[in-house]
């Protein structure tokens, strides 16, 4: 199976290689994300999924390869300029600013925007999406529960009005109910037309809502297909969905 590509995908990754010192964590992967799609990268710990996202958002410098976003190259662009281009990253482990309040975290998500009215409207939108955040808007984010922190991390990433939202392990460490809530939100964002690149260990949940999926193992993409295809693929079921 190959990744379907059109003339101008929103994000195009070609033969990307990333290393930490001498250890190569991503060994030449290629994939693309079309506008409006949800694409997921699944795989075990250490497969290189988080490294891929951190490279896309500029926190890591690639060894080689090409990243094209919205028609322009992204390689070599510093991290703080990449958000400006419309790529938002909700990192693994939420990474909120713990001593700042919910509202302050959300405002930082809109750091580069200059439209106070639009920012206020978007904050209200996040509070509609996650009412609990609105009720606690003046509470320090470090005191929130894991699920609430995840909602805030997603809300904060949305505040930049991204063309592409990258979510790294949004379900990590959450209760089944909270995980369901987060997955429902991703589905809702998708119906609103948000393009999402989702990294998940919970393959079942990720594949069932993704248009396309890529299975990563030790730094390479070993299998690609539509969400449904992968969900019913024998080897995926064995390796990632806990069936024998």
């Amino acid at each position: 199976m190959t990744t379907p590509t059109s003339a101008h995908p929103l994000l195009q990754v070609e033969d990307l290689r990333v290393a930490y010192g001498k250890i190569e964590a991503v060994k030449g992967i290629s994939f693309s994300v079309e506008a409006g799609q949800v694409v997921t990268l699944i795989g075990t710990n250490g497969a290189g999924k988080t490294t891929t996202l951190r490279t896309l958002s500029g926190l890591l410098k690639p060894l080689a390869g090409k990243i094209t976003f919205d028609g322009a190259p992204l390689t070599g662009v510093p991290a703080h300029k990449i958000v400006e281009r419309g790529l938002a990253h909700s990192p693994e482990g939420r990474r909120l600013f713990p001593r700042l309040t919910i509202a302050e975290n959300l405002k930082l998500g809109a750091f580069l925007r200059k439209d106070p009215v639009g920012i206020e409207a978007d904050i209200r939108r996040v509070y509609e999406l996650f009412p609990i955040l609105g009720e606690r808007s003046r509470q320090a984010s470090g005191t929130l529960s894991g699920g609430e922190q995840q909602m805030l991390a997603m809300g904060r990433a949305l505040m930049s009005r991204p063309k592409l939202l990258m979510l790294d392990e949004p379900s990590m460490g959450l209760s089944p109910i909270m995980m369901q809530k987060i997955m429902d939100t991703i589905r809702e964002l998708r119906t609103q037309g948000t393009t999402i690149l989702l990294v998940e260990q919970n393959a079942q949940a990720a594949l069932s809502l993704a248009d396309h999926g890529h299975v990563m193992e030790t730094g390479t993409v070993v299998l690609s297909g539509t969400g449904q295809e992968l969900l019913h693929d024998e080897s995926v079921r064995k390796a990632y969905l806990g069936e024998d």
Binding site: S57, G58, L59, P78, A79, H80, K81, V83, E84, A88, H89, P91, G93, R95, L96, F97, P98, R99, L100, E104, K107, L108, G109, F111, L112, G142, R156, S160
Partner: protein, 309 residues
Amino acid sequence: MNELPQQLANGLILGAMYGLIAIGYTMVYGIVQLINFAHGEIFMVGGFGALTVFLLLPSGVNLLYALPLMLIGAVLVAVLVGVAAERFAYRPLRGAPRLAPLITAIGLSIALQQAVWKWYPEGNKARVFPQFKGDSFQILGATVQRGDIFVLVAAPVCMIALGFFVSRTRSGRAMQATAQDPDTAKLMGINTDRIIVLAFAIGAAFAGVAAVAYGLRTGEVQFRMGFILGLKAFTAAVLGGIGNIYGAMLGGVVLGVAEALATGYIEDIPGMQQFGGGAWKDVWAFVLLILVLLLRPQGLLGERVADRA
């Protein structure tokens, strides 16, 4: 001499000066986890900046009118040196093992001292700093020199301005974000390199203000003045909780008052006579530092750093 109000006033004046310098240590540490041991010398060059401006003014100028210009000179020189230190000495070492920037800081500190010693006109001896003429003030039973009024006004003004900047402005919030999680700050679109420069610049500016206060108080500036004062300000920053700007000022004041009280009263304690007076005054700051490190390592207002990712 050993009157309580007088000792408290001396301590407060000294402490305000320590606090202003301590801000520089604490802001830089809060953002890049670097102890900028050259900060004492940034304070020192600020003093020479102020002196230079004074010497360039026509002689016999009223010090009150000269003071704002001297202040600008001090702040300008200190900020220039502080920002250059960040750019050329520390930035290339970002990501290096922590010992490397620390040694660099000590090297820079020596280099700055020697540069002033060698190249500033008569920099190898103490240079006379202008003094306010006229009687001292009597405030609540303490005698306060005219020149000392400067730091008693400047320190709170600087603190209030900094507090407003950090909590109310966009750059200030970006600074807090960078201190709490630099990588994620970048993901928000914050240019963290600029924030680091800003932290160095603000710290250096406050050191420049402190240098003017020092000159007015002691009547001189000299190339070694940043050494012991820098160490004490660093102590104040640790005492208050390093990384916390209010802690730095509180630590400075606590240190200054403790030092003044120890100098004034310790000889009254039976068996401690030989530790009294000015000769031992520099010891008390470091005794306090040891006590803080033993009893409350995170400092007075410091938080345990567990919430740092």
